[in-house]
């Protein structure tokens, strides 16, 4: 900076910086839990229940124990010292379940761990598993949630009062009276079947006990290492300085790796007892039968509106099929209660009433799944909005325009109590609709006979970056509202930013580096983002609930900003100028228009190693730790538009176009945002058209392989148009809103509405997802039979 050319500092936030983790991950140099090989490591296989509900009469392990290579065979009695896993909640009318790490006396779903076998190889462990004979006495089952909710139904947990483990009511205004007085109502019974997260990498855990130091480390494919550390620490009575949880590279979670699993406790405990590292890698069938599952919800809802289409009241009755246990830490209420919470959507609906119940069934526990509660709420509400539009003969987009909260109406409190801060509700609707030629599509729809064409719109809002005042899960006594960032410059001048977050595909190594680089004045590649290791941060829960950009990014912004102040103060002493004259950028610290310039390594050397240039009191430690808690949260809004074509003869449904417009505040990296939208939409396509976990009447899973549980492939995912809308920035340090889940929230409803539009002329409604050609065939056949009778 020897000349006077004005220095323009690079703006990293907002630019499509290439992912810093890509060279590692795309060339196979990532290190996942299953890649970890340790000396003397032994392998765990699990005998899982093949019964949905049964009493364990006896377990014969003799043959298995005798097999050469088997180190140990363990059942519930061998884990008597480990307390059962219980997810507490302050929610009234909530009953926690007791989940032993290995089933004790009773099994409650097919796939529940019953016996743990440790052997010198997984092959031998599996051979031994095949030799174990568990004698069961089958108990009665109520497989469907509605059946299980009957007080006379067989109880899954004898010690509980009923299978209904929580009931919660929401009410605002006078819903019943408003319904009665309303000119129009539309109703429906909507259902999202069970599905699962299906990340590329199955769950995998390796536990290692350093006997000399008495330090236990669990390497696990989890997105909540802090939660796992705290939970297992309590169960095994280990302090955080003796027990670390490390999430190495993690190949996706989508919620499925966001809860505590018995296997994590088992490998941790066995590694200490056996004094050998213990590894467990779930196979795909185990993922499909024992990973946490999603949805399984029915919503019966009515929307009341006046003749101009203004929404007046919404009533919803929500039934959640929560599975065998209330999952730790989120509880069984996580998903169904948020269906109720998000049910009013982005609209003005003065009167609201909802009842939500969660019912235990003999199936794997449900847990977080990308979008939590919102996909079901948005599907049900957006179907109702389309039905209302059809009733009044108003175009669906226009009806939404009339009811979406307007710019001047923020903050807006919904009937369920959520407060929306200013976000581009109307702007997203307008942007998405202008990306699609709705008029031409209507003409094409009328003209074409070779395909049924349908257009579907879905608008939604979601709360992201949720702070400490709001529980991510209802009544959960755990603070998920704060994260800490420690940004430091070491004596080589290198910048590290340490988080308790746990990126598992969110590109945090890039986006957090962009934030730190921006604030500090270095380049993103100069910043090493360190995360996923509980040894490095006192507290922090992980990456989930669209929180990392807002909360982690907020902490990063604060910490890097404060560190930049320190850097400038030191440089000002060195240059003999005022700190306000000092600027940083591109790895340099300088005073514009002068020849005062120094790079970060040189500054670090002067601060840490050189004992003469700077006075002792100016040699500040170049490290800042900051915590950020947004207290409440911030609103992300979006509208999705889907265009489908259905072959009238084969009923094959193809997605022709999918437009997503979203307002996620300031974009840190547009490429990463679009990647998140694309991935979320792909999952939403699975929700809408393909993915369904099915169980037979005895509770046996019948979709236990990827030949039967169908996830979308690239052939089923169209090009997705993403339109970024930025309105007012939210009041948080970076101006960010969370956006990792939205694709999965809006797409199912938009696609459902598009399919419903395409088949409306047949008198067929789309009330349950996924809607497959096989199901469409049955619906059309039923509708034509009904027509025949009339």
């Amino acid at each position: 900076m020897t000349d006077a050319t004005p220095f323009t500092r690079p703006k990293y936030v907002g630019t499509p910086v290439r992912r810093l983790e890509d060279p590692r991950l795309l060339t196979g140099r990532g290190r996942y839990a299953a890649d970890i090989q340790l000396p003397r490591m032994v392998h765990l296989a699990i005998v899982r229940s093949d019964q949905a509900h049964a009493r364990i009469i006896g377990i014969d392990t003799d043959e298995a124990r005798a097999l050469p290579g088997v180190i140990g065979v363990f059942s519930a009695a061998d884990f008597a010292h480990v307390p059962d896993i219980r997810a507490p909640s302050r929610m009234p009318n909530y009953q926690a379940t007791s989940c032993p790490v290995l089933a004790r006396d009773v099994v409650r779903y097919v796939g529940e761990p019953v016996v743990a076998i440790v052997a010198v190889s997984r092959y031998i462990a599996e051979d031994a598993a095949a030799l174990i004979d568990v004698d069961y006495d089958p108990l009665d089952v109520a497989v469907a949630a509605r059946e299980a909710s009957d007080p006379a139904a067989p109880r899954l947990h004898e010690e509980l009062e009923s299978n209904t483990v929580f009931t919660r009511r929401f009410s605002a205004g006078d819903c019943a009276a408003a319904m009665d007085a309303a000119a129009n109502t539309v109703s429906g019974q909507f259902r999202l079947t069970r599905k699962t997260s299906m990340s590329t990498e199955p769950r995998a855990y390796v536990a290692e006990h350093d006997v000399g130091k008495d330090v236990l480390t669990l390497y696990g494919s989890t997105n909540v290492p802090g939660i796992v550390r705290d939970a297992i620490g309590r169960l095994l009575e280990l302090g955080g300085n003796r027990f670390h949880v490390v999430a190495p590279d993690v190949g996706g979670s989508f919620g499925g790796k966001g809860s505590l699993y018995p296997e994590e406790v088992i490998v941790s405990d066995l590694a200490r007892r056996l004094e050998r590292p213990v590894k467990y890698v779930a196979d795909r069938m185990e993922e499909l039968t024992s990973g946490s599952q999603a949805f399984g919800e029915e919503v019966e809802a009515t929307l009341a509106f006046d003749d101009d289409g203004r929404f007046i009241a919404l009533d919803a009755d929500i039934l959640g099929d929560v599975g065998a246990y209330s999952i730790y830490p989120w509880t069984a209420a996580l998903e169904p209660v948020q269906v109720a919470g998000f049910m009013p959507g982005p609209y003005r609906i003065p009167h609201f009433s909802a009842t939500v119940r969660g019912v235990c069934t003999p199936k794997p526990p449900t847990g977080p799944y990308r979008g939590v509660g919102r996909p079901m709420a948005v599907f049900a509400l957006e179907r109702l909005v389309d039905k209302a539009a059809s009733r009044l003969g108003i175009p669906p987009a226009e009806l939404r325009r009339r009811n979406l909260v307007n710019a001047e109406e923020f903050p807006h409190r919904t009937g369920s109590g959520i407060v929306w801060d200013r976000s581009g509700f109307q702007e997203c609707l307008a942007a998405a609709c202008s990306a699609v030629d709705l008029t031409a599509l209507q003409a094409e729809k009328a003209r074409r006979t070779d395909k049924w064409v349908g257009v579907g719109v879905a608008s939604y809002a979601e709360l992201t970056g949720i702070g400490s005042r709001i529980s991510v899960a209802p009544g959960m006594p755990m603070n998920t509202g704060a994260e800490t960032a420690a940004v430091r410059i070491d004596s080589t001048g290198a910048v590290s930013a340490v988080f308790a977050l746990a990126s598992h595909g969110q590109s945090l190594e890039t986006t957090l580096a962009q934030i730190v680089a921006e604030e500090l004045g270095v380049r993103p590649r100069d910043v090493a983002v360190v995360q996923g290791d509980t040894a490095l941060a006192p507290h922090g829960t992980g990456t989930y609930a669209s929180r990392s950009a807002v909360i982690g990014g907020g902490a990063a912004t604060k910490a890097a900003r404060a560190l930049a102040v320190k850097v400038k103060r030191v440089a000002a002493t060195l240059f003999g100028v005022d700190p306000s004259d000092v600027q940083t950028g591109n790895g340099d610290i300088f005073v514009p228009g002068t020849n005062h310039s120094i790079d970060f390594p040189e500054l670090a050397r002067l601060v840490y190693s050189d004992m003469s240039t700077l006075p002792q009191e100016a040699r500040e430690t170049l490290e800042v730790q900051e915590t950020y808690d947004p207290v409440f949260g911030t609103t992300t809004s979006s509208t999705h538009v889907a265009v489908v074509e259905i072959d009238p003869e084969t009923l094959h449904t193809s997605l022709r176009q999918l437009v997503v417009s979203e307002d996620c505040g300031k974009l840190i990296n547009p490429m990463v945002v679009e990647g998140q939208v694309h991935g979320g939409v792909a999952q939403g396509i699975g929700v809408a058209l393909l993915e369904e976990l099915k169980f037979d009447d005895a509770g046996q899973p019948i979709t236990a392989t990827l030949a039967d549980y169908l996830v979308p492939t690239s052939a089923e995912v169209p090009d997705i148009d993403v339109v970024h809308v930025e309105t007012e920035l939210p009041d948080n340090p970076g101006g960010f809103r969370g956006m990792g889940e939205g694709g999965t929230i809006g797409a199912p409803a938009a696609i459902a509405n598009a399919v419903a539009d395409a088949v409306a002329h047949l008198g067929v409604e789309v009330n349950s997802l996924p809607i497959t050609p096989n199901k469409l065939h049955a619906l059309i056949a039923a509708a034509s039979r009904q027509e025949g009778q009339e």
């Binding site: 092959y123 599996e126 009923l651 019948i702 979308p712 050609p773 065939h777």
Partner: protein
């Protein structure tokens, strides 16, 4: 459970060695491994010995015979799809291969593997049924051949005896210029067919000299719609005639009902795919 039980592995270099290696109570042949390995990983099959025939390169050839084409057992789906002889005489093969799973599977999976796995929804059993192929089998007693109706007995069950292996399949050339077409409905690109239809049409003097329709995914094995074929032969070669005969395609058909498709849905697809395949075949036959 995704780990096979321990097994013995042998890799013969010649057909004779392969037959010898198969002289074992519980031996299975592995070629592409695209069906066998998943079944072994699930422990649904637990062979004591695997006989790997991948070194027997003579099984990879596709060659002209006096009366047709002979496709070697080890021919990969991907190679069949781009083979010039097959493209010339049986262009339907390349068309059908586009529906076989995904590129990686097409690069490994073999013709004989698909035939011996005998999935009722798979493409090769349907092609061989449609094209009146003869399955060539070698055993300790020498060579024999089997017609599709003798070979495919039930889902995943064939006429192959212990100590036998399929060496290839012979496809006789049609008696004259013909048109062929393949249609398939699957849940996703590359999935096993819910229903597949293959058609072959030969036209002489403006009349159907020969019509063949094969259906896969509908029943326990691939089947031919013989009633429809018989009714159309000798009729004027017109699309209307094909349309009129379609009800015969579902006559006496009792489709399977499974997780993915009801019997009703399958039944509704049969005339649709039959029509599309037959009309395209007719069009190609008269080009």
């Amino acid at each position: 459970m995704m780990k096979p039980v321990a097994f013995e592995y042998v890799r013969p270099e010649t057909l004779a060695e392969a037959v010898t290696a198969l002289d074992h109570d519980d031996a299975r042949i592995i070629a592409g491994g695209q069906s066998l390995l998943p079944m072994m990983n699930f422990r649904l099959v637990q062979p004591e010995r695997l006989v790997d025939i991948n070194r027997i390169t003579e099984l990879e050839r596709i060659e002209r015979t006096k009366t047709g084409l002979r496709i070697g057992a080890l021919t990969r789906h991907a190679n069949a799809a781009r083979d010039p002889l097959l493209a010339e005489h049986f262009p339907i093969v390349a068309e059908a291969m586009g529906h076989v799973a995904h590129v990686a599977i097409r690069n490994r999976g073999t013709v004989a593997g698909s035939l011996c796995h005998a999935d009722p929804s798979a493409e090769w059993p349907l092609l061989v049924t449609l094209l009146d192929g003869e399955i060539e089998i070698l055993g300790s007693d020498g060579h024999r051949s089997a017609e599709p109706s003798e070979f495919f007995l039930a889902p995943l069950v064939t006429d192959i005896e212990e100590q036998e292996l399929v060496t290839g399949v012979h496809l006789p050339l049609p008696a004259g210029p013909s048109g062929m077409a393949f249609e398939e409905v699957a849940q996703r690109a590359g999935d096993f067919a819910v229903v597949a239809a293959g058609a072959m049409v030969r036209v002489e003097n403006d009349t159907f000299a020969e019509v063949r329709l094969g259906l896969g995914g509908v029943f326990d094995t691939s089947v031919r719609a013989r009633a429809l074929e018989g009714a159309l032969t000798g009729q004027r070669a017109r699309a209307e005639e094909l349309e009129a005969a379609l009800p015969l395609a579902i006559e006496d058909l009792e489709p399977n009902d499974d997780l993915h498709a009801s019997a009703d849905y399958r039944l509704s697809l049969v005339p649709v795919l039959a029509r599309r395949a037959l009309i395209r075949a007719l069009h190609r036959a008269t080009q």
